[in-house]
């Protein structure tokens, strides 16, 4: 298979992840969409590593995996903390930091 197939697949998965990140309201599913985007970047990195026959890209993908694991741990910790404090697990409700004088964007 030509490398361009893998890179194109990675672009498709990244776009699906980015669209889903904007479309969903649950922080859990938004974290899953972040995983999709990180995995798409991993696929591109490994495809380019294969293209140049150079393992450096695979090491980079390994580091991305580590960062993704850290992101999952901290993100899920925040969600559990929200749940413990009886805050709604909904992105639209988490607007404490928003400028109160500004009108609601979504309505």
């Amino acid at each position: 298979m030509d490398i361009v197939w893998y890179v194109a697949l990675s672009a498709v998965i990244f776009s699906i992840g980015a669209g889903g990140l904007l479309a969903r309201r649950s922080p859990l599913v938004m974290l899953l969409c972040l995983e999709l985007m990180l995995n798409a970047s991993n696929l591109a990195l490994i495809a380019f590593a294969r293209m140049w026959a150079n393992v450096d890209g695979q090491i980079f993908a390994l580091v991305v995996m580590v960062v993704a694991a850290c992101e999952v741990v901290v993100g899920l910790g925040i969600i559990v903390a929200l749940y413990r404090n009886r805050v709604a697990i909904d992105i639209d409700e988490l607007d404490s930091l928003r400028d109160p004088t500004e009108g609601a964007i979504s309505d």
Partner: protein, 183 residues
């Protein structure tokens, strides 16, 4: 053989990604992501990244997904309506995704990398095997390796601090021991 495997894995990966975005129940979204990760591991194997495929299966499909399933069942993943308003920004999400895909497609097409239309350069012996990855991690990439381990430690400590019970925010009835010293 390779094209057949590629297309099976590619459809699995795209199907899993669409499932993550479209399924209402977060639990099923997590399961769709597991399928997506398995398909990606097959693709990694096709790209001669044996060590990364194994790490993907063990670290992602194993450990991280168990964490997700645990939190989904802890928080109680309720069905989430997909299209109950939310207004213009949320309705624009598919358009944004399509626009991003168009930009990426133009970037790939206009990159001018001639090697994109080939199977890749000639591979040296042992490409992507655990021995080579481990050798590089302990010699050339020692600093990133150590920084990654430090980052993991920081994340673990941060998660414990984030998720612990806080005192003083509101009284939690079942937390204070009541039967001690009463008798």
């Amino acid at each position: 053989m390779v094209p057949i495997l590629f297309f099976i894995a590619a459809f699995g990966a795209i199907g899993g990604a669409v499932g993550v975005v479209m399924l209402k129940n977060p639990f099923f979204s997590v399961l769709a992501l597991v399928g997506h990760l398995f398909s990606l591991a097959v693709l990694f194997l096709l790209l001669y990244a044996e060590f990364l495929a194994a790490a993907q299966l063990i670290v992602y499909a194993g450990a991280v997904m168990v964490l997700y399933v645990f939190v989904v069942s802890y928080v109680g993943g309720a069905d989430e309506p997909l299209d109950d308003g939310g207004g213009a920004p949320r309705a624009l999400a598919p358009i944004f995704g399509g626009a991003l895909l168009a930009v990426l497609a133009v970037a790939i097409g206009a990159s001018g990398l001639k090697a994109l239309d080939s199977e890749g350069a000639e591979l040296p012996a042992g490409f992507g095997e655990p021995a080579q990855i481990g050798d590089l991690l302990l010699t050339r990439f020692l600093l990133p390796f150590e920084i990654a381990s430090f980052l993991l430690t920081v994340a673990a400590v941060g998660a414990v601090i984030l998720a612990r019970r806080r005192r003083g925010l509101e009284p939690i009835a079942d937390e204070t021991p009541t039967d001690e010293g009463s008798s």
